[in-house]
Symmetry: C2
Subunit: 694 residues, 2 copies
């Protein structure tokens, strides 16, 4: 059959659509596969996300929305499943990966709920867990988990966001009293944008420069975290603490973001979260990590789960957006070739396919890459694989995937919104408000561009360390090794044999393009060449005075970000390619392979100028790229509904009026009406078919 | 001096910043130039947009916001300036262009206010004016202008948006009573997304298929407009009329959008707006335009001002966004090269320059193109130049500029939002909520992609008409003629002399790139080649059966849209280039020429793959493009503040806390604090500079 079966079925898995060639996606199998390593936790979290108690009520005032989300947090506590990352002795499950797998699904209940839960347990609670020691755990975790102690994570200041090391709040040890004195020296050092700070927070983990008296001069030990009570039981600020409400935001208005400042607030010495740095009663500082720089990055690294979970939440939101827009595009009809023909379904238009299916392809890639990130995160935080190198790799991976997936989610939500026209703008169809909520995902937990710059520096550092004198082939293998797993790596890379003198038919060019080895070479080659070129340009810059070095670096900043982004694209492509190995059903495998090709070749089309300029692709082959992508879109089109159904979201998670079958019902009613009118013989004749009347 | 002067001055025009080479922008002169043909009207409208009475109050509920905007409309009536498009005898000024020049500035008060005003006077009132005749004008315009008669513009249906010809509401002439019977046959034919429909509208201009009894069979004369009362003075629906509230939206929540349906509602024959089609008491239909197709497009064409004004509003919003983000980027400092160096200003980062200045360049291009569109609109609607060809040209120009500028506004608002980090997300800084409001501009008044497809068809039709047998050079000149004015056109086009064998230094390549003749050739050549290629691919499709023809067309839909977009890019570039001719101040001209080059060469970089693949740019020259763009960014950087100051928006229009100098004050306070601490000698020493303590 040529029509997708979706028009006559509900969102419950039904018979899959087979295309003309008989390929069909096994929706149940693919759906199960997408659930990944923690299927039961994901299913349970989706049930929670589908629970009306946890849904956003559109149109609530900011105050009402904040109250609702606060109450929903309590509901989460009562219904379980949000403490999995914590030790079993506190009611958790010692399951960091499973915790995030469940957490990220909450985005579909209400992103405000998700992020407020993230503030309470993923930041405030996690800081106590990871930066504190046993005494802190015993003292505070029970109340944090139960929500008796709501708290803020007071890291960012008005004056410093992504540059955490430059924050200006101080915590000075007072030898006389044995206390720390927490102080905000000026307006730019106010803590800002903190969830729970405007209203609900009773305490805050405050990041401040730890200052000890020193032997003959005060010493700044860099940023440490301190537990600081901020409000009394009546909700009033404690003496010395002040703050402001951040007020209305572009989204996430169920969270009470606010500012805090401290006027020489005294806290007990024991309130220093002292896992990585401690002060003895006599003012002596000690730390298990000698280097202040490494100590700082180690402390921040324990909080990587924020980035990991945003990556997953962005993927979940992208999936939901496509599930809504693809279903609508499969039911909605608009414009007709001739007055007697039925109007065309939106998804039959080439442009609509390009708009939605290319984003579907990246969503799959991002989903598979996220699953790998999550497993790596779990292995590190559960201690299975927890060397310094493992932690560093995890942090780099999170730093490159979070930007790509959060930007992708915004792009996808927007394109889906536009693809649904006016209906896409209504709150009842989710897309526009979800987009508004997810907007900030691109800049919080590390600004996307700042993160990509960190990734670029890591790429350069690895390059410098290993290949100072190596030739280009070695570098290509290195890039491949960064991305490919052992199995693939063992097979080695096919050498680039294509030349500008390349001849052959279009079909041969298409075969060339759809060869995963080709795609890998092209994607890998681009990263490698960009890094090598940057390394060359920046060579020696490190030996110059810092400001000179910074200037040279700055002249290549755009290139650095592009290299990091290309590296992320490659990682997503590799994850997609690895995921194909786990699919046993031939039809599903065939369709997903097309989708992977659409992703990989779409990336190459996007950077075609680079490939041509660098002689990586002949003009002849490049010319076949656009037509081949269109052919892939055409092939994938009958499977689009199955591919979004496999995401496993039902009406209780999607909650979009246009994704309920309402549009199909309207189309059928209109069609039936026209048929009846025609049958009755009183259907008006269009004027143009008449002789002039007069 | 190397630092922009902006840090020490307020937003009021101050001394312009000169760069190292002594170039300086004359901000006052440029500002005046940007005010265009209707400077006084724009200034007055900006004063209105700066009036607190007309400002959005963030955090209002939807109901409060709707009430406020309704009251603001009355305030606009009382304070004048919103009726300029109407005839003087109704209190207007017969000034269609001036009307829009003022109207589009209102976006900075509140986009809801702007669009609700547009619904009342630009759609509902304009339909009466342009589709009705004298009797209608006399009867309804006074009440519409004074707001005693608020109304909806009931064109779109749930089932049909951009395909207006397919709407299903009917108005059937009843010979016995001499009335029209307005009817909604099924759910998909409900009128939808109509401003004023949910609450305030007392009447609606309803678009419906006009059906007459005919001689022996009912005849469908196609879409016509009818005045239909919908609510009584108490606000209750009149008999036969029903409706629904569209509820909360992604933005524009000050407007009461809603749905309407009609159950055989009877209206007098005289309520047909009969300028382009009338029905005599005996049921005879007559029209001054014989062809139903041409008649339909003529009627819709009278409403082109919606698209013209959205183009202008999108430009105004882009300007405001950049004024906010550039100022902040000039004051905000983040990250330091070394502990002793001052932190860098955001705008000194290459990436930040690329993010903001490339968008500034397109904003200038879009502003100049809009001004030309507005003048053309004025000439047509004031009757100065009003042939069928003029109208068609105007409609095509509006159809290509509105998509480009509305998407650009969303892109710019988003990039500015992200460039301001967490501060960009707060309502107090405007960006995120402005973006939410403008989102729908991309799909209402014609979906952007549908409009671009119309433009592509026009390009193809012109091509087919004039150049069926012409060679490529003729085509190139044709494309140039579409874009260049007579003056430029007379000089003729420099022939493309560049070849792949091109040799020469980088400097020569840069000279080549900055030659406007080169930029024009490259941009023009691309449009021409794309259209010619499409024409070849679609040749003969028109002779096939409609469904076959549609299939072939659909296989090239992506290419069609890309060609239309490239055409629009070229038109903006040409408008920018023409605008340079009017600038007499050498410094201003130099800086704006760099900005134009940044825009033109940025477009070429964006489509580098195409240029290389089609042999239009040698690899050698292509390689200089990126470095040259970076050089342009570096040159433009000292002038960025002046270039946004010239937009002429003050704090009362921008209303962004971060664009008030607050950030500069915070930076200075922090700096002064650090200096004082260092002077006092008690500044803590960083641990890493100490000997180990123990």
């Amino acid at each position: 059959m040529t029509q997708p079966a979706s028009l006559t079925r509900t969102l419950a898995p039904g018979p899959a659509a087979a295309d003309d060639a008989g390929h069909a996606v096994d929706v149940g199998l693919l759906g199960g596969y997408l659930l990944g390593r923690w299927p039961d936790i994901r299913r349970a979290a989706r049930r929670l996300a589908g629970d009306p108690e946890l849904h956003r009520l559109d149109g609530q005032s900011m105050a009402e929305h904040r109250r609702r989300v606060r109450d929903q947090l309590q509901y989460l506590v009562d219904h379980g499943g949000v403490h999995r990352a914590f030790p079993a002795r506190f009611g958790g499950a010692d399951d960091p990966g499973g915790n995030i797998a469940g957490y990220e699904e909450l985005v579909l209940a209400d992103p405000s709920l998700q992020i407020k839960a993230g503030v309470q347990w993923g930041l405030f609670g996690a800081a106590i867990l990871h930066l504190g020691t046993t005494g802190h755990h015993e003292k505070w975790l029970p109340d944090i988990l139960s929500l008796r102690l709501p708290g803020a994570f007071a890291m960012t200041e008005t004056g410093h966001g992504s540059d955490v090391s430059a924050i200006a709040t101080t915590a000075t040890y007072d030898l006389a009293s044995g206390e720390f004195v927490v102080n905000t020296p000026f307006r730019a050092a106010w803590k800002d944008y903190l969830g729970n700070a405007a209203r609900d927070g009773k305490a805050a983990v405050v990041f401040a420069k730890l200052i000890t008296p020193g032997r003959d001069h005060p010493v700044d030990h860099g940023v440490h975290a301190f537990m600081v009570p901020i409000r009394d039981d009546g909700g009033a600020f404690l003496p010395g603490v002040g703050g402001e409400d951040d007020g209305l935001k572009g989204g996430l208005n169920g969270i009470d973001n606010g500012r805090l400042h401290f006027d020489n607030v005294r806290i007990p010495r024991a309130n220093l979260l002292n896992r990585y740095g401690d002060v003895a009663p006599d003012g002596t500082y000690s730390s298990p990590i000698a280097s202040p720089g490494r100590r700082f990055f180690t402390m921040l690294g324990t909080l990587v789960q924020g980035r990991v979970s945003l990556d997953g939440a962005a993927v979940a939101a992208s999936k939901a957006a496509l599930a809504i827009a693809v279903r609508y595009a499969n039911e909605r009809r608009q414009f007709t070739a001739s007055p007697n023909a039925e109007e065309q379904r939106l998804l039959d238009y080439q442009l609509h396919q390009r708009r939605l299916l290319t984003r579907l392809a990246r969503t799959y890639a991002a989903a598979f890459a996220h699953e790998e990130l999550l497993e790596r995160f779990h292995d590190v935080f559960s201690g299975v694989r927890d060397t310094d190198a493992d932690r560093e790799d995890l942090e780099t991976l999170a730093a490159v995937l979070k930007p790509l997936s959060t930007w992708h989610a915004l792009d996808t939500l927007q394109e889906c919104r536009e693809a649904c026209g006016g209906a896409g703008f209504l709150a009842e169809n989710r897309l526009s408000l979800l987009r508004a909520d997810l907007d900030i995902y691109a800049t919080f937990e590390g600004d996307n561009n700042v993160l990509l710059q960190l990734v670029a520096k890591r790429l350069l550092a690895d390059y410098a360390k290993e290949f100072r004198n190596a030739d280009f082939g070695v570098l290509a293998r290195w890039v491949a090794a960064q991305a490919a797993d052992v199995t693939l790596h063992r097979t080695g890379l096919r050498r680039v044999v294509q030349t500008v003198a390349d001849t052959g038919s279009d079909r041969r060019a298409a075969n060339y393009l759809k060869d995963p080895g080709t795609q890998r070479e092209l994607l890998t080659g681009r990263v490698g060449a960009m890094v090598a070129e940057l390394a060359g340009a920046l060579r020696g810059a490190g030996k110059l005075p810092p400001t000179e070095s910074a200037k040279i670096f700055n002249r290549h900043q755009h290139g650095l970000i592009e290299a990091a982004r290309a590296h992320g694209d490659l990682l997503q492509w590799e994850a997609f390619t690895r995921a194909l190995e786990g699919i046993r059903d031939p039809g599903t495998l065939e369709v997903l392979t097309w989708l992977r090709d659409l992703f990989g070749l779409g990336l190459i089309e996007q950077h075609l100028g680079w490939y041509l300029l660098n002689g990586r692709l002949s003009a002849q082959r490049a010319r076949t790229l656009g037509p081949y992508l269109n052919r892939l879109l055409h092939r994938l089109r009958p499977h689009a509904q199955d591919l979004v159904d496999a995401f496993g979201y039902g009406p209780e998670q999607l909650r979009a009026a246009i994704a309920t079958g309402a549009e199909a019902a309207r189309q059928q009613e209109a069609l039936a009406w026209a048929r009846a009118r025609r049958a009755s013989g009183d259907f008006p004749v269009p004027e143009k078919y008449l002789q002039p009347e007069g």
